[in-house]
């Protein structure tokens, strides 16, 4: 599967408001082709094309940065609010709270769980966003260098590595923290649920949204890493998912199923 296709798939399955924030890979690819096809005799022509290319790239990167930082800020706020909310719920309706109420508590906990899992998912998707775009940029630059014989890639990539959208350390940290919090939240009220009648495993109906998006993201990641027509020391090795983690099964469960050409 080619990257362009993967990217389009990701964009299709992604949260709607994110759709236009991804790399305009196809457009840039066309531009690169144009540049390489154009007779590079006159300074003017190829210079212009290259300038345009750089300009576009810079624009894309700005787009990523802005979007990324905005989302990051949002996550920071939401994360903090959730923490507060957890505490509030626990203190108010929890077993040790001032107004213990099983029903309300469980309700709230349920809501909490969902929200926090969603937040976690969105954060991970942001990391995925960053990665997808970085990969796209790397590929475009590689194409450019290959087709025009330029040496744009290396320094440009070095620059990119320092861009905000690529430095996902904070988000990753938040994600890890979130996981810890989630474990705690899941423990909240879990005993109550355990006492209830346990239902046999049912198919999970996951619709649009985060869950679907993450599954798709994982799948495409796997695909991108599987093969490469130009395998070089710059290519990544195949993905290494745990054996028991059956992605295909998850895809099947999604409704409507994702059509991924594997």
């Amino acid at each position: 599967m080619k990257f362009g296709k993967w990217l389009r798939q990701q964009m299709q399955e992604t949260l709607p408001s994110w759709r236009d924030k991804f790399l305009s890979y196809d457009h840039l690819k066309k531009l690169v082709r144009l540049i390489s096809a154009a007779p590079a005799v006159l300074t003017g022509k190829s210079g212009k094309a290259k300038a345009q290319f750089l300009y576009l790239l810079n624009n894309e990167i700005d787009k990523f940065n802005t979007f990324f930082m905005e989302r990051e800020e949002d996550f920071i706020i939401r994360n903090e609010e959730l923490q507060k909310r957890i505490k509030r719920v626990s203190d108010t309706w929890g077993p040790n709270g001032c107004h213990p109420s099983k029903i309300i508590y469980e309700n709230e906990v349920r809501k909490l769980r969902k929200d926090i899992v969603d937040l976690h998912g969105e954060m991970v998707l942001l990391v995925n966003y960053s990665n997808v775009n970085y990969t796209g940029l790397a590929k475009i630059l590689k194409k450019y260098d290959k087709q025009t014989g330029a040496l744009l890639r290396l320094p440009f990539i070095q620059e990119i590595l320092e861009q905000p959208f690529f430095t996902t350390d904070l988000i990753s940290k938040l994600v890890k923290e979130c996981e810890g919090t989630i474990n705690a939240v899941f423990l909240m009220g879990e005993e109550e649920e355990r006492n209830r009648e346990v239902n046999e495993g049912t198919a999970v109906a996951a619709g649009d949204g985060i869950y679907r998006n993450t599954v798709v993201a994982l799948l495409t990641l796997q695909e991108i890493r599987r093969t490469s027509s130009t395998y070089s020391h710059h290519s990544l090795p195949p993905i290494n998912l745990p054996a028991d983690f059956n992605l295909i099964q998850l895809v099947v469960q999604l409704n409507p199923p994702i059509s991924i050409i594997l």
Binding site: P16, A40, V41, T43, G44, S46, K48, K50, A51, L54, Y55, N58, D62, N65, T66, M69, E72, D74, I76, I77, K111, D115, V117, H120, G121, E122, V124, V127, K146, G149, A150, L151, L152, L154, P155, Q158, E159, I160, L161, P164, T168, S172, E179, R196, N199, T202, V204, A206, G207, D208, G209, I210, Y211, T214, H233, L236, P237, I239, N240, L250
Partner: protein, 499 residues
């Protein structure tokens, strides 16, 4: 060229107005006229075959670095410059004041490795290094000093072709503005006369045709010695014009407050810098808000004052406060959860036990997937970082080799035949190789090993390198076709040096 003096003067005035010291990209007007007038000239005098967009990123970068230091946004200028050549009238506002859009070629060999530390490694080794010594500063005064020296260097310039930096279209473009830049700084008369001389002499060298550029005097600097080596170095230099997209990222992200401006908003940069929030910063924010009586009652101004964080503007606080308020009063308003609500999972009551369990299980599954994705993303990211690091490392090795190669050429042509050169070369190569060994052990990417060892044993401008599996990083491979002319010295040397 007659117009030049006038242009330069005005440009120079503008320059001084700008305030050189590391100014951010501002909305200063671009020097439009020079480009218009000189552009055609550039074409005329150009014999350059632009098909060789080899990166002189090194030079350029260093150049832009210097300029960038002043403008603090090499990328902006580079892209703006290019863009300006596309549509001189349109992108004026974006242009860096220093970038006169002249298209006349020139290499302003500002070797000073970019203060922003952007592309130091890509600089054509010898040239930049030597030049950097002479440059030293990145402020205008330095340039001025330089111009004083130019008359002396003129003769040297004439004998040499422009710095090897020249060549690629964009290089020429950069050179264009750099030339103007320089032109503005230096004395008009002296330059003019010398330029015509340079033009005449520029056909001489075995360097790329681009050498016919008019070279500004100042560029002479350490020119003479390096001239002959420049061509060889040319292939070695890598990288193109500075892409540095958001080069305006002035402070590092590790700090709490990072004002990040975007190139596209060069003009409005001051008005809308992007701030990168951190949890600590947010905590301080929440503290301040609480002190002021809650998110509804708090005002941006008050919060700003209370927070007492340097570099924070009211604009930042305002937008953050808005987000904060939204988050508080609509805790479930995240997009994802909204979408999730479309699914049946959302519609159930607390009394529905089965569904409750289902939901929990669904959530667990979701968590599982998310965790895996995150894991894989982390791994992928680390791999990508390492790959780039390796590429950089290889590049450095290359340049080291280049430098050593250039130094040898520097000595004299006879040194090529000198047997004493061989042992030193061999010696140089083996330490390089040994350096590669540990890194080889480090990285498990076996396909790189044969490549690396070959790199170590080859010269920078060496053709065998081109045949190796180094699609992206190695300059020689890419620049191979264009360097054919300048290859004469290296090839004979190769057999002797090869291990």
């Amino acid at each position: 060229m007659e117009a030049r003096p006038a242009i330069r003067r005005s440009a120079w005035n503008q320059l001084t107005h700008m305030g050189v010291s590391g100014a951010l990209s501002t909305s200063t007007p671009v020097l439009q006229s020079p480009s218009e007038e000189t552009f055609p000239k550039f074409h005329d005098s150009q014999q350059v075959s632009m098909e060789r967009p080899v990166g002189h990123a090194g030079h350029l970068s260093s150049n832009s670095g210097v300029v960038g230091h002043i403008v603090s946004s090499p990328s902006i200028f580079s892209t703006d410059l290019h863009y300006s050549s596309i549509s001189p009238r349109e992108k004026q506002s974006r242009n860096n004041p220093f970038i006169s859009k002249s298209s006349s070629s020139v290499s302003m060999p500002l070797p000073h490795s970019s203060p922003s530390g952007v592309f130091h490694s890509t600089v054509s080794c010898a040239y930049s290094k030597e030049n950097s010594d002479s440059w030293g500063t990145d402020s205008l005064p330095g340039f001025l000093d330089f111009s004083v020296n130019t008359p002396v260097q003129n003769s040297q310039i004439e004998s040499s072709s422009c710095s090897g930096i020249m060549a690629a279209e964009d290089i020429s473009k950069h050179n264009d503005w750099q030339e103007n830049w320089f032109a503005q700084i230096t004395d008009d008369d002296a330059l003019t006369s010398n330029w015509s001389d340079l033009l005449i002499d520029n056909n001489v060298t075995d360097l790329e045709p681009q050498m016919t550029y008019q070279v500004p005097k100042p560029s002479s600097m350490n020119f003479p010695a390096q001239q002959s080596q420049v061509p060889q170095q040319y292939p070695a230099s890598s990288g193109e014009i500075l892409p540095a997209p958001s080069r305006e990222i002035l402070s590092d992200h590790s700090k709490d407050i990072t004002a990040v401006t975007t190139p596209s908003s060069a003009i409005s940069a001051a008005a809308k810098p992007r701030m990168r929030w951190t949890p600590e910063l947010h905590e301080a924010f929440v503290e301040a808000v609480n002190q002021l009586g809650g998110s509804e009652r708090a005002t941006p101004k008050g919060v700003l004052k209370l927070m007492k964080v340097e570099g924070l503007t009211i604009y930042h606080v305002k937008s953050h406060l808005q987000k904060y308020r939204t988050a508080r009063y609509r805790p479930d308003s995240s997009e994802g959860s909204l979408e999730k609500r479309l699914t049946p999972l959302e519609e159930m009551t607390s009394l529905d036990l089965k569904t409750g369990i289902e939901i929990t299980e669904a959530l667990r599954l979701q968590m599982e997937v998310q965790k895996r994705l995150h894991e894989q993303l982390e791994i992928q990211r680390n791999l990508q970082l390492r790959i780039e690091e390796q590429g950089k490392y290889l590049q450095m090795m290359f340049e080291k080799q280049c430098k050593s190669g250039v130094d040898k050429l520097n000595a004299s042509s006879s040194s090529l035949e000198n047997t004493s050169a061989q042992p030193s070369d061999a010696m140089q190569v083996s330490p390089d190789k040994s350096q590669l060994e540990p890194s080889k052990a480090e990285h498990g990417e076996t396909e790189v090993d044969p490549v690396k060892s070959k790199v170590a044993s080859a010269e920078c401008a060496d053709e065998p390198i081109g045949k190796q599996k180094l699609p992206e990083t190695e300059a020689p491979e890419d620049s191979e076709p264009d360097v054919s002319m300048s290859r004469s010295p290296p090839p004979p040397k190769r057999p002797k040096i090869k291990e």
